[in-house]
Symmetry: C2
């Protein structure tokens, strides 16, 4: 099976889905954010996961799109909360329209997400929605933790990993689990799928933090060092704050406190501190731990090897990314 | 059956429901807004509607609470959009905490509402949730229309009634329909229940507009004339703008344009204009039309008379309110 078939199925459904029409102020922003693109990672995971157990993966297309709509709902509301001006290089909904429209369109997107998830076998509906509601609440918990961290300087590694687990990884776990639920896989298999998505998701997010500092500027899409410039509480900074003592600590906290600085100079200085503390190696080994756990979870899933390879190859692409 | 039994069941479930715990910034606002009280009209309608068809109305308590949680979610988000400082005399969530917390807590409330609605028979779940999603989207459509009306002076009566139908009445309709769906009533019965709630809801909302101008200050909870002072586009104002011509029109638009005015003087002047145009009678007769339609819909429902009387008496209390 060529993964392009899954991508095509998602694109076709995206084109065809009617989110609603009137009033346009409510529904245009949904069409807008859904048209901005993205890797469609979550619905792809659901389709590939369904395909592990059945040829009839097409029945998973609408619920898979439900997960994508939910993800984009969180982006629309997070962008308001973060006052983000851009999303995928285009104006965010609250910038292009206004805050109220972004709140209300997002609300309808969450309703739309549930509605798309209704398109499953009746006997599986309750467990699919109960797991979705649990996941959706956890994503909100992660976003709230992330906002709480903004004003704290004593966030521990464990707290940070818990935050990214909730904010981003549980939805990747659910995307995989959903395929198993739709295909009628057993509870243990679904648990392995979920854990696999969660662990790979944590590794993926930590790699995001790593690439922001140590990415190849030629390959990395964003400005390398952006997180350092913004004092963003990444895994690297939290780790450095936990490890640094004496003059290195003073230098690091000095850079964090400065409001007037040369950007390149700050990026170079903080990167040097990270180097001195061995943060790159610590982060790399933590990323590998999560990826290994995730692939070990996937190993536990009993399915035809050729089908597992489709999902495994896609997951490997995700973890090997340089941008 | 004493209606107090239904009220007690809702209060008990409200006390017992765990919306979530961590982080507290996410869940405290939910407990707060749910504790502010209110008539609990929607869950009461669901329980009374279930009781029309079965003694086992207790199984409707959790889904009924789902409707109440959804209603309070819309209040939390509407209050942000309207920049409302107070809700039931207490600070709104975005005032007591902040906008971001009100957005995100509201999001989780919508998830909680769906979760409570999952607690129904598996064979009824899909239709219960599909109708809920449709209703929830319509409530958002009504709120968007309401916001659009703020900057328009040519809103027609038909547009206004459609806005209140969506913003408030369809949820009352759904609350009644939900009882029928839970109890396994037939499709025609459920349609009558829904239409009854929608029609009574429209009458109820129009009566709200009427009481704000013509309510007895001794009985009406809020300041009589508040809508006139705020230029709020109520049924009365829209009707007056549709009817007024010549010098009366000039006087009305003059009061609407004025930014510096004596409040009592404006209320008296606009009320006199309403009197001259016969707005009170027009509004009253429209209210009665909707109430009559709503009670006629209820008549169509086949159920034991004593059980219908419980719901009918409650609905009559709602329509006869003076505050």
């Amino acid at each position: 099976m060529n993964p392009a078939v899954f991508i095509d199925a998602i694109q076709t459904e995206l084109q065809r889905t009617d989110y609603g029409q009137h009033p346009p102020e409510l529904y245009d922003p949904i069409r807008y954010i859904m048209s901005l693109g993205g890797k469609r990672m979550r619905p792809l995971l659901t389709l590939m996961s369904t395909y592990l157990f059945t040829d009839n993966w097409q029945r998973a297309v609408r619920p898979a799109l439900g997960v994508e709509v939910f993800h984009n709902f969180t982006l629309m509301h997070d962008d308001i909360m973060d006052r983000a001006p851009l999303r995928r290089g285009k104006p965010t909904v609250h910038e292009k329209w206004n805050d109220n429209i972004a709140i209300l369109s997002g609300d309808v997107m969450l309703v739309n997400a549930y509605d798309l998830l209704l398109d499953v076998d009746v006997d599986k509906l309750k467990s699919i929605l109960a797991r979705f509601s649990r996941t959706a609440a956890e994503v909100c918990e992660g976003q709230q933790m992330d906002m709480n961290f903004e004003t704290r300087w004593d966030v521990t590694e464990a707290e940070y990993v818990e935050m990214i687990r909730l904010k981003t990884s549980v939805l990747l776990g659910y995307a995989l689990e959903l395929g198993g639920l739709i295909a009628g896989a057993d509870a243990e298999t679904n648990r392995h799928l979920y854990e696999s998505g969660v662990n790979i998701g944590i590794g993926f997010q930590l790699k995001d933090d790593l690439l922001d500092v140590y990415g190849d500027p030629a390959k990395f899409g964003k400005q390398v060092g952006g997180d350092i410039i913004a004092n963003k509480k990444t895994f690297l900074l939290i780790e450095a704050l936990e490890k640094a003592t004496g003059p290195i600590r003073d230098e690091l906290t000095g850079w964090l406190a400065r409001t007037n600085f040369n950007k390149a100079e700050k990026v170079a200085a903080v990167t040097t501190i990270y180097d001195q503390l061995g943060i790159r190696q610590i982060t790399r080994s933590r990323i590998n731990e999560y990826f290994e756990r995730g692939f070990a979870n996937l190993e536990q899933v009993v399915a035809e090897p050729a089908r597992k390879a489709v999902l495994g190859d896609f997951a490997r692409q995700l973890v090997e990314r340089e941008s």
